[in-house]
Amino acid sequence: MRVLRYITPEESFRQYRRRLEAAGLIAIGLLLVLAGRFFWLQVVQFERYHTLAENNRIALVPAPPPRGAIYDRNGTVLAQNYTAFTLEITPDKAGDLDQLIRELAELVEITPADVKRFRRLLGESKGFERVILRARLSEAEVARLAVNRYRLPGVEVRARQFRQYPYTDVMAHVVGYIGRISAQDKDQLAAEGRDANYRGSEYIGKAGVEASYERWLHGRTGFEKVETDAGGRAVRLLERTPPVAGHNIHLHLDAGLQQVAVEVFGEHRGALVALDPSNGGVLALVSRPGFDPNLFIDSIDQATWAELNHPMTRPLINRALRGVYPPGSTIKPFMGLAGLELGLRTPGDSIQDPGYFSLPGSTYRYRDWKKNGHGVVDLKKSIAVSCDTYYYRLAHQMGIEAMHRFLAQFGFGRKSGIDLEGELAGLLPNPEWKRRRFNQPWWPGETVIAGIGQGYMLATPLQLAVATMAIANDGVVYAPQLLRAWQDPTSGRMHYAAPRVLGRIPLKPQHLAVIKQAMVDVMLPGGTAAAAGAGAAYAFAGKTGTAQVIGIKQGARYDEKRIAAHHRDHALFIAFAPAEAPRIVVAVMVENGGSGSGTAAPMARKVIDYWLLGKRPDAAAPGGLVAPEATAEEAEEREDASPVPAAGEPEEVPGDAR
């Protein structure tokens, strides 16, 4: 092999120096590359990396606001927050969860339901989030956990705010409840651009006032800017925007009255609405059976859920606004007023009641509830004794269109606009509706039975109360309203809600006087609700009604004893008092309660007694709330429930409008 070259040490050294210098230059070049890179990162791109570093270290932790409380008109608490200790587990920090739960169960009581709920929440959460295993720990349990904490990794005892409804089932349908924010709620909040305010919130109003006034009750979420390390642990607090508590909501509702109204129902199903005629304020709104809203806050076990959805009782349905029933004879004061206003009747006009009405050229008999008729009947008597024949005839003369127009003014067939969700509009039929709905013409016979509130017409107890308010108020109708005031939580200032006028019906005072007097007569001896009105210390105006659940065949008789309980008539009653200067309007509906006079009227009496006189019903006799035994004669002739052929299908269960 060729020797490359023979070089002297001097040459070798010179080459070495040259190459060393070249290497040095390259090194300088590389250093410049680094310097350039640093300049790029630290000067040119500084803002970007500064932001990234800040994002790394700063976390915004939402601080959910305390929810506003709900009070009745006297400041009685209907919904409030309380602080309780919860046992929570951070799955990422805990080891074997089953083992951990077994160990915890030796220290505190943990039910299978707790474990089940924990598992469900666990599935919905991320591993680093705390999941509640047990809520509402006792002090002893907290102490036991504290002592054993060292051997329970990932277990924490924390103070949390809980919602509580002290009136449980009494206020359930009014106050409603909050529940965990669902995926749908989240979508809804996002669609309304309100989701940022719910970061950190776990609950949202689901029903009742809790839902209607969610925006005020919730408050504004605060934020804590905290410095966190790479593990997500908060190192220190940098900045804090405190949450703003939700507004307190004050209702027109009177807890005492509501309590009485619930008590008078006993085991009955139904609804009661009491309004303040001076402003439409809802004084009481009851739907029975009730339920305990406290159950809804976290989760409900299957058995309870099944019970709450029992097809017969359906406690979750707010019957006051979602139960629709034929108004029955409670429509008669409005029909009578229509007769006067439309010039079809004068107060003195009277008929001879043979116990039935037939359309001209027909032999079909529309029967009065009283087999042999009421004899000579004028307008006042027709209301006092609830004469059907009078109204068959009047309705026939008036015609369905005029009837529809007149009754619509009282709010029938449309929503009252109460500040609760889910209200139904009921149904005020006319021929056009029937054509649309069934593609059939309107039959004259349908007008006849409409005159006594049967047939297609459906109304909610709330609508009955609103319509009654129109009479009590001489035509002025206010929208029923639960909200009396909202209160700023920091200043404590109250903002009162203005009453909302739904309409002013032009009614002649002399006509109103006749109808009001007739309704007072209902409560006096000779009237259908004389028993309920007996001994009232004020002028009590009312009207009984009975809504048929099943049709009775022509010529057949209604025998309560032979009819299954859920096929019995619904009992209805509307009232206001004192008649000359009304301070309360009441509508009562008792599902399958039998008769309005026997069941519903005494309930209203007790409610009004409490409101006007401060008299509590005899607590010892809830049975007294049920209809007093009817006399033999009354038993034979079922007052007020007219054995007319039912038009269409019998009204079975409330809950859907036809």
Binding site: M1, Y16, G24, L34, L41, F46, R48, E54
Partner: protein
């Protein structure tokens, strides 16, 4: 008097300028490790001990005459090679790589030995052949270099093998390897790159891919680069101040006292701090090369210069890696990172540099 004479005797082979510059760098290291270990005084004390041991090693190495090193060179290389083969056959697998050899009493990483043994051997070899350098000599030298490099590459340890290859290359380059040959080899390497890619292990390929696009794996392999780049960039011009780096002190920066310690300095002292550090490295390299050029023998010149250039390459690769322009290859920042092995190896190297520069007289053998 005695103490003074003893001191003079001890420091006779030290270069005051280089020692001063190295001392400055070690001060930087103390500042950085203190911040990176935030309150962990055990670690800081251990670091001080490491530095003391390494300085002692440097002092001792400065006293070893180059001739002794030359005698030692083939043996060191041979032992290193045997150990590397042993690693390949019986080595312990740690983190998916076979790098350690369990000797019963202690575990050693033979590749560390090769960092010094490879330039030592090549400098010795070229020194032997200096009278009549032929192509075949360079071929042999390249072969001697390739052997350990391939063995280490297969452990696999890409970073170390590349850096050892660099140190060997420096010797051969300074020894006079034809520049045409180097150009040809570079062209060949470029052509062979696809094959080399094929030979790489998955995790090595991943590192390169992650370097090209760290966001492709932000929680895995990319996490180191992303966080260190953020640390460097957020340092800005003047830095966040000593002990005030958020990336460092809130645990976002991984391996912050070892391989990524440069990010700590960059975050806390900013661009100005970085440029001063670069200047310090440049000064050390300049002084080191100056000393190397003073060496009386070819062996000394080649060895010293190769050691200094390797030191530079380590620093460059580390800073390039932390600032995101080179793949993460697990190379510490020389003389700054926490870690005894690297500290000792590097200062030992500088001890040798000073030894060859100061042992002027040829001693008869």
């Amino acid at each position: 008097m005695l103490a003074e004479r003893l001191f003079k005797r001890l420091t006779a082979h030290l270069d005051p300028v280089l020692v001063g510059l190295l001392g400055l760098l070690l001060l930087v290291s103390l500042v950085a490790v203190w911040s990176a270990s935030a309150g962990n005084s055990d670690k800081f004390v251990a670091h001080l001990v490491n530095i003391a041991v390494a300085l002692t090693a440097m002092l001792l190495a400065s006293h070893i005459p180059p001739q002794r090193l030359m005698q030692f060179a083939p043996l060191a290389y041979a032992v290193g090679l045997v150990l590397l083969v042993a690693v390949a056959l019986f080595g312990e697998v740690v983190n998916g790589a076979r790098r350690w050899l369990d000797l019963g009493v202690t575990r050693i990483q033979p590749s560390e030995l090769m960092r010094l043994a490879v330039p030592l051997l090549l400098a010795w070899y070229l020194h032997q052949k200096q009278e009549s350098l032929r192509s075949v000599d360079f071929a042999v030298a390249l072969g001697l270099l390739a052997l350990p490099v391939v063995l280490i590459l297969r452990q696999p340890d890409l970073g170390t093998s590349l850096l050892i290859a660099a140190s060997g290359f420096f010797v051969i380059y300074l020894g006079g390897l034809s520049l045409k040959l180097i150009a040809a080899a570079a062209a060949l390497a470029a052509a062979a790159a696809p094959f080399a890619w094929h030979m790489l292990h998955d995790y090595q390929r991943q590192r390169i891919l992650t370097m090209l696009d760290p966001s492709s794996d932000p929680l895995g392999a990319g996490y180191h680069i992303i966080q260190s780049t953020i640390a460097v960039g957020s340092g800005g011009l003047t830095g966040k101040g000593w002990m005030a780096g958020t990336q460092t002190h809130l645990d976002f920066l991984p391996e912050r006292s070892t391989d990524f310690i440069f990010a700590v300095l960059a975050e806390e002292f900013g661009l100005i701090g970085n440029l001063l550090l670069l200047a310090l490295y440049a000064a050390i390299v300049y002084r080191g090369l100056t000393l190397a050029a003073r060496a009386p023998t070819l062996f000394g010149r080649l060895l010293a210069a190769a050691l200094v250039l390797t030191f530079f390459i380590y620093a460059f690769v580390n800073m390039g890696m932390v600032s995101g322009i080179l793949p993460v290859v697990g190379v510490p920042l020389p003389l700054v990172s926490y870690g005894g092995t690297s500290m000792v190896t590097v200062l030992l190297g500088f001890g040798i540099v000073m030894s060859v520069a100061t042992h002027k007289k040829l001693v008869k053998t």
